[in-house]
């Protein structure tokens, strides 16, 4: 299994280079657990296929709307040169009506047809916006009846931290998911605004400090899918990439067990090191995570209000429980 290949770092990203503040980071990394790392997926050519229902539906919507639009756009692309050429000045055979400037029929058409199309699209927008609301729970895939997998996501400069609250493990810049199981991401940021995108699995949502946004997705086939931050956040931005490894359920539980056994500890101290600005030299896994870490990260931005801290923290953890 590729994801158990251990030791291999992504060859293509020269992580850590050119970005300051990373030397201690890199050092820490060397001693950390290396379970579950794999190379950045590389492709020979452009392929835009979805590997999960959310991305598939979004892509399908894109294609449908584009085709529909072509009905009004292609005529323009064809008519413009044709009319211009047909009525060129030299072409004395074509009619010349310098005073002609109105036709009721045409008027109805040029307002009516686009209006009709927009009406059609509007219906789709209304229904699909709701259906594909990132906060909306999605069903498990065929043959999988497991409860959704919760993952808490923390956007950092310039890396992503994923906490599996029920498995009590965490990963940095790598996300391992069981195929067919619905995944419920809870996103926040411990720096500026970021945006998480895994193009082949689901569209993006912002992650913002002190707030929690949600995103549901599901991988329907095993594979390695690139993920990234798309909201500019400084000089390491372009290197803030990670890989989603979709594996079957058994492999997933084996992986969890392996990380639990071999991964390092993510406590407050270690978190502070991880959160420091920089691009990590390699992905990393943690076999043990402070239970309230995520809640504290969120609550931190409400720190000056004592009442708020506790409610935010409890809400952040509380929501996890509600989800089940």
């Amino acid at each position: 299994m590729a994801i158990f290949g251990g030791g291999s770092t992504r060859p293509s990203i020269q992580r850590g280079a050119q970005v300051q503040d990373t030397s201690t980071e890199r050092h820490a990394k060397r001693t950390a657990s290396r379970a579950g790392l794999a190379a950045m997926p590389t492709r020979a050519a452009i392929v835009a296929v979805a590997a999960g229902p959310v991305a598939a539906a979004e892509r399908q919507l894109l294609v449908q709307a584009a085709v529909l639009m072509l009905f009004v756009v292609v005529p323009v692309i064809v008519l413009t040169p044709w009319v211009a050429w047909r009525f060129r000045r030299r072409n004395r055979r074509s009619a010349y009506r310098p005073g002609w400037d109105f036709s009721r029929l045409l008027e109805v058409l040029i307002w009516g047809v686009p209006a009709l199309l927009v009406a059609l699209l509007a219906v789709r927008v209304w229904t699909q916006s709701r259906a594909l609301d990132p906060y909306r729970a999605i069903a498990p895939g065929q043959g999988s009846s497991a409860a959704p997998l919760d993952v808490q996501v923390v956007g950092l400069d310039w890396k992503w931290l994923f906490i599996y609250p029920d498995q009590h493990i965490a990963t940095l810049d790598t996300l391992v998911l069981p195929v067919g199981r619905a995944v419920h991401l809870h996103l926040t940021s411990d720096t500026v605004m970021e945006s998480l995108l895994v193009p082949r699995l689901a569209g993006q949502i912002y992650a913002m400090p002190g707030m929690i946004t949600q995103l549901w997705l599901r991988a329907d086939r095993p594979g390695d899918f690139p993920g990234e931050n798309t909201q500019y956040n400084g000089s390491g931005f372009a290197r803030q990439k990670f890989v989603v490894h979709a594996v079957d359920a058994d492999a997933f539980s084996r992986w969890v067990g392996q990380v639990r056994a071999g991964g390092g500890v993510l406590d407050a101290r270690r978190y502070r090191q991880v959160a420091r600005r920089g691009v990590p030299a390699a992905p990393e896994c943690f076999g043990q995570v402070d239970a309230d870490l995520y809640g504290r990260i969120v609550a931190k931005y409400h720190a000056s209000s004592q009442v708020h801290v506790s409610t935010m923290a409890s809400r952040a953890t509380g929501r996890m429980n509600d989800a089940h």
């Binding site: 409400h302 000056s304 209000s305 004592q306 009442v307 708020h308």
Partner: protein
């Protein structure tokens, strides 16, 4: 907006005392100022929206109840409303040529009321500082200090403008320039009143509830 409002007007070959191109007509100047005020109104409206969005974020600091007081706000309202009235009389004095003394006197009175308003506000701000309600404490206070002092700044500029007009009236009397300027100043002054009504209603009174 009225279509064809210019039809029937005599066309003007060159020099024309009332509609020359060197000086925009009174209508133009006044309309231009109206447009400016509407742009300014959008600015205030957005500051209100920001205040409404951030007003609950006291971040553990003092809230509206802790910092606002009705008395001073009522006093400030009274002064500002009276100043609008005195300015109104000044406008009438100008329009019906009731003499420079009345005009200047009313302007002076308006100025005094305006300064009184500013003085009370400065006192308010000082009291707030005393209570530790600094703009840096929370988003609520930041939004408050963005909205109310912007109005304060406008009133201050209005006061400077009144002084300038009083001097210019002395220097050149009531001519076309001073007249349209006074008209614009009047619009500005009454407009600031309206903004203040919104401030006391949606900031102070709402905060005290």
């Amino acid at each position: 907006m009225s279509v064809g409002s210019t039809t029937g007007k005599r066309r003007h070959p060159g020099l024309n005392l009332h509609e020359s191109d060197a000086h925009p007509s009174d209508g133009e100047v006044m309309f231009g100022f109206w447009v400016f005020m509407m742009s300014d109104a959008v600015l205030f409206a957005l500051l209100f929206a920001v205040y409404a969005s951030l007003g609950v974020n006291t971040a553990g600091g003092p809230g509206p109840h802790d910092v606002f007081e009705l008395g001073p706000a009522a006093m400030e309202t009274l002064l500002l409303l009276l100043s609008s009235f005195t300015f109104g009389i000044a406008s009438l004095a100008m329009k019906y040529r009731r003499g420079m003394a009345l005009l200047q006197g009313m302007l002076a009175l308006t100025l005094l009321l305006g300064l009184g308003f500013l003085g009370l506000e400065v006192h308010d701000f000082a009291t707030l500082q005393g209570k530790g309600a600094l703009p840096q404490v929370s988003a609520f206070l930041s939004a408050f200090y963005a909205l109310v002092p912007t109005h304060f700044l406008h009133v201050s500029l209005g006061c400077v403008w009144i002084v300038v007009m009083m001097v210019q009236l002395r220097m050149s009397g009531l001519d076309r320039t001073t007249r349209t300027r006074l008209l614009r100043l009047g619009l500005f002054w009454h407009f600031l009143d309206i903004v203040w009504v919104m401030i006391f209603s949606f900031v102070f009174l709402r905060g005290m509830l």
